[in-house]
Symmetry: C2
Subunit: 277 residues, 2 copies
Amino acid sequence: METVSQNACFGGTQGVYTHKSDACGCDMTFGLFLPEDAQDGPVPVLWYLSGLTCTHENAMVKAGAQGWAAEQGIALVFPDTSPRGDDVANDDAYDLGQGAGFYVNATQEPWAPHFRMWDYLADELPALLGREFALDMDRQAITGHSMGGHGALTLAMSLPGRFRSVSAFSPICNPTGGDWGRKQFAAYLGADEAAWAAHDASLLMGERGFDGPVLVDTGTSDQFLELLRPETLAAAMAARRQEGTFRMQKGYDHSYFFISTFMEDHVTFHAEALYAE
Amino acid sequence: METVSQNACFGGTQGVYTHKSDACGCDMTFGLFLPEDAQDGPVPVLWYLSGLTCTHENAMVKAGAQGWAAEQGIALVFPDTSPRGDDVANDDAYDLGQGAGFYVNATQEPWAPHFRMWDYLADELPALLGREFALDMDRQAITGHSMGGHGALTLAMSLPGRFRSVSAFSPICNPTGGDWGRKQFAAYLGADEAAWAAHDASLLMGERGFDGPVLVDTGTSDQFLELLRPETLAAAMAARRQEGTFRMQKGYDHSYFFISTFMEDHVTFHAEALYAE
């Protein structure tokens, strides 16, 4: 692992690190905010998964999360959204290939060799983080935006016991039913739609739900509502009687101005779960 | 004036607007955050002047100021750092020409026709803002970063009565004495150094000071300390017995991670002055 940069930030350190990933077969870069409290011992971890076109950097500089995490004594992890590099397959579209990993393990060519974001986030990166940093990996929570909200929800429901709480900003809620999902799942997972269901937050909510609190925020003026399909997740949460809060925020859109506005709520929500006995 | 974008943000609106500038002889773009309170009547204004290479956008997305401004009921203005466009002179260096206006009125060719940022910020843009938005132009304050800290300090001291308070993040403190200043003043203002003194915060502090509180923050790990010359301003403030606070913040560098960390302090500082009777 190599240190790319470290900046003092809200009493702690905002770092960027690169490492050789076995899961993805390429170098991967991630951001990690360590609050001052990490100098005294391991701190809880909140994962932030980003949306289409993003790298590890977007949320790190625009989401305004570090101040609230510092206040709560929580670390923040900002992974990349896909494998990267000249050897890695890509597509001209913004919503397929590099920057658009959709947090799955691809089984189809040309994606299969590198696009293994599920394994990277479920296994490889948490193991690395636990080894290298003062993080309490028994206290993890996860959030994300758009494609990253989809990733946060599907990882949380599929790895019971891993995360104490899950939240999402304007998540893709039902990718098997919309154009942010069907196109990518067909490319990465193949034509058999049976393989897609494991990566659909609304279907997973209907099947199993999440053993902990859930918080979802979406803007009523989000320009991508037809692709996000929030109504499917709201219905599934209610039908399951899932512990959680589903909010539509009046006038807000899909931007980081929306995310930063509600970041305090989300970090506070996760802190309550992470510090509960 | 044309609206480029408007995003809901912390209960208010983050807007971007373009207008034909007479001062600069080109189209100019600025960001304006209006808190929810502006729906009930004019609100005070805090100007934020950005540093080298920045546009109106950098601080708007990275400084984390809107949340604190919303809490205080204060508007934020994010002007550009120079004139822009194909007709506008430029230079290959990052620290001269477009993105590097240094907040002066150029008198030398090829800069003189467009590089009139002083007039733009002292006269034209405030007049436009007062006409078009619910802003109380009798209650203004100003801050900035690096080259923008220089701009904030020099405007505040040169326009007595205009601003109730002034602050700066890692400002260029003594441009007549360092390479962030001498090169640009020679280009924009000519070889006669007598014309430069009016744009040097440390010299202005020695001559006249500021009729209100001053807050300056600079990181001890700032990679540009030799160009910023904070010791000159600290000495001038102390020698004048200027009301104010000059802080060196341990371990922080020149980045927006530093700015966002101390933004709450600066907005709160300005709010106290803006709401004082």
